[in-house]
């Protein structure tokens, strides 16, 4: 529990009071704020300049809580193959998921709308990739979009959590992960955050999900407000950390942004936990942008805490880390993350040490335990593979088994730490076994690699099975990841214990607000001297002193500060808020609002006090920056907007209006491209449209907006002549000629209505209309008379009604 914070930050967002997982709003009670997000904000970290994207079904980029932080360059529509990740709207709001996740990361603060994101100043994008057929190509493309621009990829999806699926990334997606961690963020490594599964009720195990189970992803699980296991949560050994999320109906829920510009506090499952951690990591990246993908994982291991999370398997591993199969290393702690990140030095390079078992088949007998061991030296004989201190441990198994769900697998480290790699799964009837499936554990993090590793496999038949068909462990491989040097000690003592938090420096302006030097009395006022024979302060001048301190000087070597009322003292340099009058040897007060200055006047400022911004053109401190400048809170300066921006907010390239010749694309000013060209976001320049277009949104012929001269528009393409089945026509209010569709069943026509000249197969041309061949064949004279006298053939509805017969009959 944390006591209510007296320095409570208030935001005017209507759901702010419901965000119990971030702050305490009831002054008389305790509340759950162990994630310490508010404290991280109070240290000044809000995710500024960090780019997060949500891999999902799109994000509503014009949502009032997202628009300001929306980043077009962190977005893409893989399903539609364009740059707009806006979700497809339908009556069931099926595609709300990405928007909900996005808000949790970067909903704008204090905008009177909905909620506040964990990293409310981070940039947020969306990669729309779940609203269509998901394939290995789709996943690989999505995981590799702009890896040097996007810092964090957050995904809250995966293979079915039905307790019987074993599936993970395909070969391309695996390569994309590897490429991301090797080359992303200019070599620091992309950060992939993943929601562990929701298959708790199905007895699913997140080790059967190759995404959360990957060493490249940060797998995040959830806890209820009271620290209980939520009904949906899956256990597994690859979970790294936890956040709060929804639980039973009586537990409080998480609020976030929703489709159609709304808010929601619906059930969130583990999906909300990934973006929450993505937000916390964004805060840490703001504190230290140079941390690598592995540093982020070390930071989470080091700072996450069990607090009140209830699990009966909490254990302390041999490196002293408390860890559980439900919650990994525990609840994330945003404040500890930023504090540690700030002083973090990169961990040593990662080594990989692999050892394969002998190829002897071992039978897995029902109701017995099979133990297989590998003794590892941690590859001490090869310097580039040497692992002494562990990070992730992976076990690749080839197991043949008649019913996969009956298997339970554990790994015991040389230090005796037992991780359950797989629990029994009652719904998994598959006879496919595990074919080179990789299980992963983080439970041995920090332990020594060397020694005997034991793989323990149990087979407990849950239903009647043929006793003669035994499971077989055909081979297994132990893959140890870690470092040869101690990850922290090798850098000296900068890695303190995470809970020993640094105390923020008191603001210099706060200290200096009170001394208001009077303009009246002279500094060298005569005072009655008392006898003092001791040494003077080194700042005292030739007239000596009446005491040992700087405020006992009778005159000063450098500058005197203050006056008789407030007390005066000698200083070597004047503090902030004052300038040095070298002639008078006095510290004189700057103009109100100035922090540093060269004179008393308002246009003699060099920097400004908190809440004001230095405007360089006037050398003045202003409350609001003029057009063409934005207020930089960190530097307290008005900074110039990008040369293409007319106005901007928060960053020079976060434009809100553009100069002539440019237009807004998200918050970027891109050139207004002339006729026949479009702005190519990949190449960041105007590129030619297809020759058939005069204006377009892309290079392909299907991307025309208007057609070039001598071209006609036909179904979103521009053509030189109308295709069969179309005729040349005009559209009201549209300057261009277009191809209109002929009547149904008409292959060629001369215009609208009954003007067919040729019919499709199976139709006959009758009175310039195409009618089905299968006409009635029993029309007698009386019937035909009736048809003719009622002029049924002229009525479209009745054209098929024996007309051909009657016409033929005259």
């Amino acid at each position: 529990y944390a006591r209510n914070d007296l320095n409570f930050v208030y935001f005017n967002d209507p759901k702010w009071s419901n965000m119990w997982y971030i702050h305490c709003n009831d002054k008389n009670s305790r509340c759950r704020s162990e994630m310490n997000i508010l404290a991280a904000w109070q240290r000044g970290y809000t995710g500024r300049n960090v780019v997060v994207t949500i891999l999902d079904d799109g994000i509503e980029r014009n949502h009032p809580d997202l628009a300001q932080n929306y980043d077009q360059l962190a977005s893409y529509d893989v399903n539609g193959n364009d740059y707009d990740p806006t979700p497809r709207y339908d009556s069931s709001n099926e595609n709300k998921h990405g928007t909900r996740c996005a808000g949790e990361v970067a909903a704008v603060a204090n905008n009177s709308h909905c909620i506040v994101g964990v990293a409310y100043n981070a940039r947020i994008g969306g990669i729309r990739m779940l609203d269509g057929d998901v394939t290995d190509v789709v996943e690989a493309k999505s995981l590799g979009i702009r890896p040097d621009y996007i810092d964090i990829y957050s995904a809250s999806w995966g293979p079915d959590d039905d307790g019987k699926t074993v599936d993970g990334p395909g070969p391309l997606a695996k390569q994309a992960f590897e490429m991301g961690i090797k080359k992303g963020r200019k070599g620091l490594g992309s950060i992939f955050v993943w929601a562990s599964g929701n298959g708790g009720r199905q007895g699913d195990h997140c080790s059967c999900d190759g995404y959360t189970n990957s060493i490249y992803t940060i797998s995040v699980s959830s806890s209820t407000e009271n620290g209980n296991k939520p009904w949906y949560l899956e256990v597994c050994s690859s979970t790294l950390a936890t956040t709060y999320s929804s639980g039973e109906f009586y537990d409080r829920k998480i609020v976030t942004t929703d489709l159609r510009q709304r808010c929601t506090d619906g059930h969130t499952g583990t999906s909300v936990s990934a973006p929450m951690v993505a937000g916390v990591i964004a805060l840490a990246l703001e504190a230290n942008p140079l941390i690598t993908w592995r540093d982020v994982q070390h930071l989470l291991v080091k700072t996450s805490r069990p607090v009140h999370l209830k699990a009966n398997d909490w254990k302390t591993n041999a490196a002293g880390h408390r860890v559980s199969h439900l919650y990994g290393f525990g609840l994330v702690d945003a404040e500890a993350m930023v504090v540690e990140a700030k002083k973090w030095k990169n961990v040593p390079p990662q080594h990989t040490c692999t050892k394969m078992s002998d190829r002897r088949t071992r039978y897995i007998r029902a109701d017995q335990k099979l133990n297989a061991t590998i003794t590892s030296t941690g590859c001490g004989e090869k310097a580039d593979q040497h692992v002494v201190y562990l990070e992730h441990v992976v076990v690749r198994v080839l197991i043949v088994h008649p019913r996969r769900g009956d298997l339970e697998i554990s790994l015991i480290s040389p230090s005796g730490t037992r991780s359950q790699l797989l629990a029994r799964r009652l719904f998994d009837n598959s006879n496919q076994g595990f074919r080179n499936w990789e299980f992963m554990t983080v439970h041995c993090w920090g332990e020594k690699a060397e020694g005997q590793w034991t793989l323990e496999i149990s087979d407990s038949p849950s239903q009647l099975r043929n006793p003669e068909v035994l499971g077989k462990l055909k081979e297994w491989t132990l893959i140890l990841y870690g470092t040869s040097q101690h990850p922290y000690h090798s850098h000296g003592s900068q890695h303190s214990r995470s809970r020993m938090l640094e105390i923020p420096d008191p603001s210099p302006t706060q200290d200096l607000r009170s001394p208001e030097p009077s303009q009246g009395p002279p500094e060298h006022e005569e005072e009655e001297e008392e006898e003092y024979n001791g040494t003077c302060d080194s700042e005292c001048g030739d007239q000596g002193c009446d005491g040992p301190d700087a405020d006992h000087c009778l005159n000063c070597i450098h500058f005197s500060l203050g006056n008789l009322k407030t007390g005066r003292t000698c200083v070597s340099h004047c503090p902030l808020g004052y300038f040095e009058d070298t002639e008078a040897r006095r510290c004189r007060r700057c103009h109100r609002g100035c922090e540093r200055c060269v004179g008393r006047n308002s246009n003699e400022c060099l920097s400004c006090r908190r809440g004001l911004f230095f405007y360089v053109e006037d050398n003045a401190c202003v409350e609001a920056c003029p057009a063409g400048y934005f207020a930089d809170d960190g530097q307290r300066r008005c900074m110039k907007c990008h040369e293409n921006c007319l106005t901007c907010v928060r960053d020079s390239d976060r434009c809100t209006a553009c100069n002539d010749g440019f237009r807004l694309a998200g918050m970027t000013c891109v050139p207004e491209c002339g006729n026949g060209t479009f702005f190519n976001l990949e190449e960041m320049k105007c590129s030619p449209c297809h020759m058939s277009c005069s204006t377009c949104t892309g290079p392909r012929m299907e991307e025309c907006l208007q057609c070039a001269q001598d071209f006609l528009q036909q179904d979103w393409r521009c053509v030189q002549t109308c295709s069969p089945g179309y005729y040349e026509g005009e559209a009201a209010g549209y300057p261009q000629r277009i191809c209109r569709k002929c009547e149904d069943n008409c292959l060629r026509c001369q215009g609208p209505g009954a003007s067919c000249t040729q019919c499709k197969d199976g139709y006959n041309l009758v009175s310039r209309t195409c009618i089905l061949n299968a006409t009635c064949n029993n029309a007698d004279e009386v019937f035909c008379e009736m048809v003719k006298s009622n002029r049924l053939c002229e009525k479209k509805l009745f054209r098929q009604f024996c007309c051909k017969t009657c016409l033929m009959a005259g």
């Binding site: 690989a140 590799g144 599936d167 070969p171 390569q175 994309a176 080359k183 599964g197 999906s271 496919q432």
Partner: protein, 86 residues
């Protein structure tokens, strides 16, 4: 029962020689080259508009000969992966 694969009319192909070579090979077998797959060098995304969009079996046709082309180092017809939002 094991779920049946659903094959799409998209392929992932590994070809050396750059985009031009990939374009040539694509057009030779009736594919459209949709470009490199993310940051994966030499990996291209091919689409065939005359192959059925989703099918439970591998459709054979002239496009199938691309599998035999010596310039193709690796090729994989894309299969729909069941993915759920959490």
């Amino acid at each position: 029962s094991p779920s049946r694969n659903v094959f799409t009319n998209h392929w992932a192909v590994r070809i050396t020689g750059g985009r031009e070579e990939a374009d040539k090979l694509a057009s030779k077998y009736g594919f459209t080259n949709l470009g490199q797959i993310g940051g994966l060098d030499d990996h291209y995304h091919f689409h065939h508009s005359r192959v059925v969009r989703r099918s439970t079996f591998v459709t054979k046709g002239t496009h199938s000969f691309i599998h035999l082309d010596p310039k193709v180092h690796w090729i994989q017809q894309q299969v729909v992966k069941s993915r759920v939002k959490r």
